[in-house]
Symmetry: C2
Subunit: 151 residues, 2 copies
Amino acid sequence: MELPVDICESLLERHPVARLATLGPAGSPHLVPVVFVRHGGDLWTPIDGKPKSGGELVRVRNVRKNPAVALLLDDYEVDWSRLWWLRVDGRAAVVEGRHPQSDPEIAEVAAALRAKYPQYDDVPLFRAEPLLLRITVVRVRSWCAGREALP
Amino acid sequence: MELPVDICESLLERHPVARLATLGPAGSPHLVPVVFVRHGGDLWTPIDGKPKSGGELVRVRNVRKNPAVALLLDDYEVDWSRLWWLRVDGRAAVVEGRHPQSDPEIAEVAAALRAKYPQYDDVPLFRAEPLLLRITVVRVRSWCAGREALP
């Protein structure tokens, strides 16, 4: 069965992690876990200050060439009667060079990220320059093992 | 930093869940959580008896047309100094019509799945016919936030 709409909405607001799939230049999928926040109907994920490999991140490079992405929210449970997932098919855009100090929308997204993730008290929200992916939701699909699974 | 090789090996053996990315016909990524087992160097994930939508599953249909897949293993942690992920880029094949009773390799894979997942005492390992994806590992990449993150 699908998850009820109100639970989907709640998960998109509150679930702490998603797995992001983007498409590489050779047409192969790329996967990485991301934090995200919903703002203005879109999902935003920052390229934040967690330690990363050097150079432009693959997810950013991929989105510049192909905006098709998917996000998966789920929690693995040993009790399989409690499994569920929610998948977002979306179109992503690289948002860069917009600073919270001068851009109200980015200021709101940054505030939403700080509110959702107190970890940003210690981890820089942005690296040298603000850089985010903005994901416009095209379709939401969900599944759960049954009524006991409702998160 | 990357995860040490021995930890990657252990995760590929023991981690209970992965997120599988396949490619849809329009070139868009598809994501679903899967259980899996390693056997003979490959990763195997069954289309098991957990409740699912009708018809052939999207992951199977996608792999028939395009074998490029990725699998992501990770655990979200509130303590971001403990984050890690391991990504497998692979080539998948649909394995069907081979029965454990008459096919030693499938019997071994089924035994490995039952050993890893006691949930298969209650949930059917296969639906009407045995159906699995076999994923040949092309590349393994990993990342962790630091030494504290080693799983």
